[in-house]
């Protein structure tokens, strides 16, 4: 339907936004793309008293590699990520995920940082960021910037670890290795649906062996899951049928899927196993070539 009344403030600078957020605390929510927040407000699952619209703030839409890793400003839309050659060349897991999030119209508005702050367990970007060892930069008027690794940022369903007065201003993804491969496999009932189950894989090689192994899951737990036991099968090793199948088994046993209208728990667990095999097999194909 439509939300109950709220106060709306659209500051022109991040400093103003930070002061407003510090002033109103839990009574306010930050609005960027709105593709998760506004639907919740229309269903009245969320009724913030104050909305701080950050879309007018200049200089938050940067996408670059300053400092050696990828830096994604808070107002970078999925649309930009889909079209980014930089992502396709060097941050493949993210590039593979971008066109699979929601639908093209939603992708004109939705933002990566906003999605991470929203922390939906069925959010695709949480898995990508966990697989790529990404982080979020939180800024406050009182304390400046702090960098929060994603596995400490998303702490539960729809729960992030921002302190009162903080706004997520940037997402960072480190360089994945001198040679890297990334994939995001998402099973959805139709275009635009949430994932029945999703697997994000990012592998980096230095010299002949794997120096970075990231495997993370969507929609099969209370939050996105980093499949650390699967990752440790691969670290320092190589991709072969044995390691791939063992990593896939570990990934499947790492998840805790619920049976619902998208499928049974066993079905989703099997999807995780199959997708992990497929993604790692694709990575092995690249390395062999």
């Amino acid at each position: 339907m439509y939300p109950p009344p709220f106060e709306y403030i659209a500051p022109d600078t991040i400093e103003e936004a930070l002061q407003i957020v510090a002033q109103y605390g839990d009574d306010c929510k930050v609005l960027s793309g709105g593709m998760s927040l506004i639907p919740l407000m229309k269903l009245r699952f969320a009724s913030p008293e104050v909305i701080v619209d950050i879309n007018r703030i200049q200089g938050l839409d940067y996408l670059n590699e300053e400092g050696g890793g990828l830096r994604v400003g808070a107002l970078v839309r999925y649309r930009t990520l889909v079209r980014s050659d930089l992502l396709k060349q060097r941050y493949q897991c993210a590039a593979d995920c971008a066109p699979q999030v929601a639908d093209p119209v939603v992708r004109n508005r939705g933002t990566l940082v906003g999605s991470l702050c929203h922390a939906d367990p069925q959010g695709d970007w949480g898995a990508v960021m966990l697989a790529m060892n990404g982080s979020v930069i939180a800024r406050s008027a009182a304390n400046g910037d702090r960098e929060i690794p994603v596995d400490q940022f998303i702490v539960g369903p729809f729960q992030n670890s921002l302190n009162p007065g903080e706004i997520g201003v940037e997402a960072r993804i480190p360089n994945q290795g001198e040679r890297s491969f990334g994939k995001y496999l998402k099973l959805e009932r139709k275009v635009g649906d949430f994932a029945t189950a999703g697997v994000a894989v990012s592998i980096g090689w230095t010299g002949g062996s794997i120096s970075h192994a990231g495997i993370a899951l969507t929609g099969v737990g209370a939050a996105n899951i980093k499949a650390t036991s699967a990752e440790s099968v691969l670290m320092g090793s190589s991709l072969n049928q044995g390691t791939i199948e063992e990593a896939a088994r570990q990934a499947a046993s790492s998840c805790d899927p619920k049976s619902d209208h998208r499928g049974s728990g066993e079905y989703k667990r099997e999807i995780v196993r199959v997708f992990t095999v497929r993604a790692l097999s694709a990575a092995a194909g690249l390395r062999a070539a």
């Binding site: 929601a102 093209p104 275009v191 635009g192």
Partner: protein, 164 residues
Amino acid sequence: MQVKQVSVTVNGETYTTEIEPRLLLTHFIREVLGLTGTHMGCDTTSCGCCTVLLDGLPIKSCTYFAVMADGHEVMTVEGMALASELHPVQQGFHEEHGLQCGFCTPGMMLVSKALLDENPNPTEDEIRWAISGNLCRCTGYQNIVKAVKWAAHKINSEPAAYRR
């Protein structure tokens, strides 16, 4: 109750009025401006029949507050036609029978226009991908795709007339 003054340019005309922040852009377009070509469908940001162009890009107007459009430009289906004829996309939907009930059609046509503005020669795959945020319960999408191809051909054969 807070009201905000907004100035929104819709189909080339600027409207300045006071509205509640919670007023959805779809309701602003339909009820404040009386332009009922933009439809309300699923209410869950899924179906796309509320699609309008915001500064040339398709958005789902049901998931956007009208106050956010202050200072921006909106195109609805009522603004698609050219001075003396329908837009080639509209002509294509007529020529290729790209609609039955017509409920999804305004959104489909606006998304198609935005696609052709960015990519004048889309493949069938690119068309289907571009409309994948808009649901149609009647046509099975086949004639919608044909309509967009017809429009692309028309625009490309007379670019001076239709590129704007």
